[in-house]
């Protein structure tokens, strides 16, 4: 049950974009059409649902204070947590590279439609942020970490799809000239964030 709560919470209440501003750079840059937003959303959700549990395992069995004691009793006071940034980013970057190669080899059609977005994901703050939050919140088991990773990815996907849909309609409206492009996108995201704050009332 706990996992289900974490899953729903990370989609709606702690939405990556509206509550923490994660992945804003690609969110603003790629939300011009629903089709490309869809592609990036799928890729981010997939990478996040895999890297967060992977990093959870690394954190639990290698990085945390005393995590290495399964290796030998004498390691029980070793604390490698200062290495976590470099380990997490290495896992993410190599996983993205791996996904890119697999997708290119087996489904060239999908590779062509995702093409440029795949390498971009390595530096998407939502992915790194997911792993860092997983570490900070100390999820109890790998099920909860997976639920959190998947939910956060879906939340990001939801946000970018909504934004892209609004921006497609916005092309026909008369926005003041200096606000066109990023300016109005920021203000709309802010308003959507206020709407999403309604979910804060849900007790889980």
């Amino acid at each position: 049950m706990e996992s289900l709560n974490i899953f729903i919470k990370s989609i709606f209440i702690d939405n990556m974009v509206f509550a923490f501003f994660f992945g804003m750079c690609s969110y603003i840059a790629v939300s011009k059409s629903v089709k490309t937003a869809m592609g990036l959303g799928v890729a981010v959700t997939f990478v996040m649902a895999v890297t967060v549990p992977l990093n959870w395992l690394l954190n639990e069995y290698v990085l945390k204070a005393g995590a290495l004691s399964w290796l030998s009793e004498s390691f029980h006071d070793v604390d490698l947590s200062f290495l976590s940034f470099i380990v997490f980013i290495a896992v993410i970057a190599s996983f993205v590279q791996l996904v890119e190669m697999v997708v290119e080899k087996f489904t060239p059609a999908l590779y062509n439609s995702l093409g440029i977005f795949l390498p971009l994901i390595a530096v998407n703050c939502a992915i790194m942020g997911g792993s860092l939050f997983m570490q900070e919140r100390e999820y109890a088991n790998i099920g909860q970490a997976t639920a959190f990773g998947l939910g956060s990815g879906l939340g990001w996907w939801l946000a970018i799809i909504m934004m892209a849909a609004i921006r497609e309609r916005l092309a026909y409206s008369n926005v003041p000239a200096p606000l066109r492009g990023p300016g109005i996108t920021f203000i709309i995201t802010g308003l959507m964030g206020i709407a999403f704050m309604a979910f804060l009332g849900i007790q889980l």
Binding site: F18, A90, C125, G129, A177, G190, G193
Partner: protein
């Protein structure tokens, strides 16, 4: 310093600002701006990391094969961020706790990767270093402006010192109340939107058609 170097250093403060013109590094720019102090610390950290990652990558640029450059960049940046994180934990522990995961997120801050890719890989170390400092300061400037308004209007304080006279508040029989919405995430986005509006109406050539 010649005029070209001056342009690298001061260009990002206005016409080429990383946050409001290049739209880079917004992730962390908004989250840490509820108060001035963490915003200032964040701005300094990002300036240091951008400057030194530009310097190091520019010095190494001829020796790195093109295919593995992203990994090398990430390793250099991550190492610098670990250093910054340890320094913050040692000297300003309370701010470091407040910034929580956002210090780690400097690694994926698009300003740093963006400047290394767009500038440092094609220029000499010294201009790259200046470009890094300039972009860090341009980023810091937006952070400070946003944090100034959010802390003043949301909390009635600046740098933790209250500036609104206590007798103005409603509970003391006055007419004033803090706007709690300013402290919540959405207002940071709206404030940046307004800054872009003002900046572009003063620089007409940046307006999108």
């Amino acid at each position: 310093m010649n005029s070209k170097n001056m342009k690298y250093l001061f260009g990002p403060l206005n016409k080429n600002n990383p946050v409001i013109v290049q739209i880079l590094g917004i992730c962390s720019a908004l989250a840490v701006t509820a108060q001035l102090k963490p915003a200032f610390v964040m701005a300094m950290s990002v300036t240091v990391v951008t400057a030194f990652s530009n310097l190091i990558m520019s010095a190494l640029r001829k020796g790195i094969p093109d295919r593995i450059r992203i990994i090398v960049q990430l390793v250099v940046i991550a190492a610098l961020v670990i250093l910054v994180d340890q320094v913050l934990k040692a000297y300003v522990y309370d701010v470091s706790k407040q910034l929580s995961v956002y210090v780690g997120l400097i690694i994926t801050n698009c300003i740093i990767m963006g400047r290394v890719e767009a500038f440092a890989l094609g220029n000499k170390p010294w201009p790259s270093f200046l470009d890094g400092i300039g972009n860090g300061l341009g980023y810091g400037m937006i952070l400070i402006v946003v944090a100034f308004f959010r802390e003043l209007l949301g909390n009635g304080t600046l740098w933790g010192v209250s500036v609104i006279p206590a007798s103005w508040y409603i509970q003391n029989g006055g007419f004033y109340a803090n706007n709690g919405l300013m402290l919540l995430p959405p207002m940071a986005l709206i404030l940046v939107g307004l800054i872009i509006w003002i900046h572009r109406s003063r620089n007409k050539d940046l307006i999108e058609k």
